[in-house]
Subunit: 335 residues, 2 copies
């Protein structure tokens, strides 16, 4: 096989078959995918969660992760946020001509390893080739299932679920992925790592606990402020967070300060916000802290009803700042 | 809103919201999508079919169709080929900076209209923006369901299902989509139209008939020869087709002749091959001909056991030609 991707790899003929056999089928090996049909047939019960994301991140590899890990985490986390258990993944590859085939193998292996970690199986795939400069895009779509034993807990979890008297938690430090991507792209020497991670363990532990979770949402593009402002609007409640309580890795804090960036608008790929009754906040915090990827969790704010739909932040210098969703372009191709 | 797509439309913040509100949510309006959660939750029973495809066709609009219609047809047809009823679609948009927003609206409307025609609902979506020259890619993933009443028929339909004594049918003329895309790209004046179409009606009628269908497969990238050769290999049988029996639109035939192309290697996007017992072939033919998009159907060959895995073609001039899957790059970005 050639060392680089060529247009022939997108023909649907012999070269496409070779690529599938030597890379994708090898890494993603499972009985459903091996059938090589037009669609995979998988068993389910009752209802399913469905989600999709395209990944266009540059560079393809970055400190702490790569597009292969990222594309699994993004879709897995979206399923988890509805209380679903990630079950099946489809992946569509759009490869640019000139892509290094060794790199493609490495990224595919990373995808397979992350899928294994998250307990999701790859059910179907597709490959296209376009002109370009050796880059790639990956689209993933995910199917999640709702096991009987957690159905009572998950039924009520939704974007508009926040109630007066709720606490707002985050599962760890904000802005890590954003800072990792931006520092790579600016060729700044740092050891800031992306937090890209599947939050399976943390969500499973929360659901098993019997706590009354109202909302879970992963913090991605647009950062914490964008996510919380959307949830405040959806619920018609006021969200107030304390800037001093928002966890930020000191290295990310200095990096952001240097560039004039605000960590509450910097994206993550392995962190979530959780909203539940204040009386249960300490227990939730302990559960998240004991879960994988949750050691930096914190209670950062509360839900009230005085200014419907608003997100407010008590700043470090004692002021009260009204936060809107991210304006402008943020960091292009962060995920 | 600006007239062109900018990087800000991919931020995940305000501009992304505007794009979703004014274009996607408007066209794809349904209660599942409107929930605007991280995942959609949809009801299903028993088992589901899953498939995905990325669409990178250029130009975005062509005679007889566009990328919006194409991306729905491709995924719908993949679900149908397993005997599943198309139920839910996810769509991931990768937009290039500079894309005309009027054009995006038009393509989204075409997508919505095709989804409506095919009876599939859009459950989840995602939008990213990359640098470029005003183009776009769309990934669709589809979920199909298996209604109780056809489960006896669909259970046996698979890629390896062909048996000795079967007939091979196609649902219409070969190479139309390929010729339409290539003529657009070469700026050749023709009135050849793409056949991009959802084959819902045809497959429903076949499944209802109680005929013993062994294999259904849509004829796409790589053309009829690639598809049949793969099915011959999967079943370990010999497929023999008659060149004179393969339906080709006379305009496509002259176009192909002019360029030295072989219609059996030219892709379609609204045609299928059906394999079932020879004794049932006439009835299947009549059913397909009476179905939407099936008026040009024909019986083109038979299945034997003498040369396992081979695809042979009795040529117009009386020879016997051994056909392999497409070699080389075919027509890049045909779908």
């Amino acid at each position: 096989m050639a060392e680089k991707i060529t247009m022939a790899h997108g023909s649907g003929g012999k070269s496409t078959d070779e690529l599938i056999d030597t890379i994708f089928a090898k890494e993603f090996d499972n009985p459903v995918l091996d059938a090589m049909e037009d669609s995979a047939v998988v068993p389910v019960t009752g209802k399913i969660a469905l989600t999709t994301d395209s990944f266009v991140v540059t560079p393809l590899k970055f400190r702490g992760g790569d597009i292969g890990r990222l594309c699994v985490c993004g879709t897995v986390n979206d399923l988890l946020m509805r209380g679903a258990v990630p079950a099946w993944l489809t992946c569509g590859f759009i490869l640019e001509e000139g892509l290094d085939i060794g790199l493609l193998k490495e990224l595919t292996a990373s995808m397979a390893a992350t899928a294994k970690e998250a307990g999701i199986r790859i059910a179907a795939g597709d490959t296209k080739v376009v002109e370009g400069h050796g880059g790639m895009y990956i689209n993933t779509a995910g199917v999640g299932i709702f096991p009987e034993e957690t159905s009572g807990v998950t039924a009520g979890i939704c974007a508009s679920g926040a109630r007066e008297g709720d606490a707002i938690l985050v599962s760890g430090t904000m802005g890590d992925h954003h800072a990792a991507i931006l520092s790579e792209r600016m060729e700044i020497e740092t050891d800031i790592e992306s937090d890209n991670a599947p939050l399976v363990d943390m969500v499973r532990n929360l659901l098993k606990s019997g706590l009354h979770i109202h909302t879970m949402r992963d913090v991605t593009r647009g950062g914490l402020a964008t996510v919380l402002r959307e949830l405040a609007k959806a619920s018609g409640k006021t969200f107030t967070i304390r800037e001093s309580a928002v966890p930020v890795n000191p290295k990310v804090k200095s990096f952001a300060g240097l560039l004039g960036l605000d960590p509450v608008y910097m994206g993550n790929e392995g962190k979530m916000a959780v909203i539940l009754p204040e009386s249960e906040a300490q227990e939730a915090l302990q559960i998240i802290r004991k879960s994988r990827y949750g050691s930096g969790a914190a209670i950062i704010g509360r839900v009230t009803a005085d200014k419907p739909g608003e997100l407010l932040m008590e700043t470090d210098i004692g002021g009260l700042r009204r936060l809107d969703v991210l304006q402008g372009e943020g960091l292009p191709r962060i995920c």
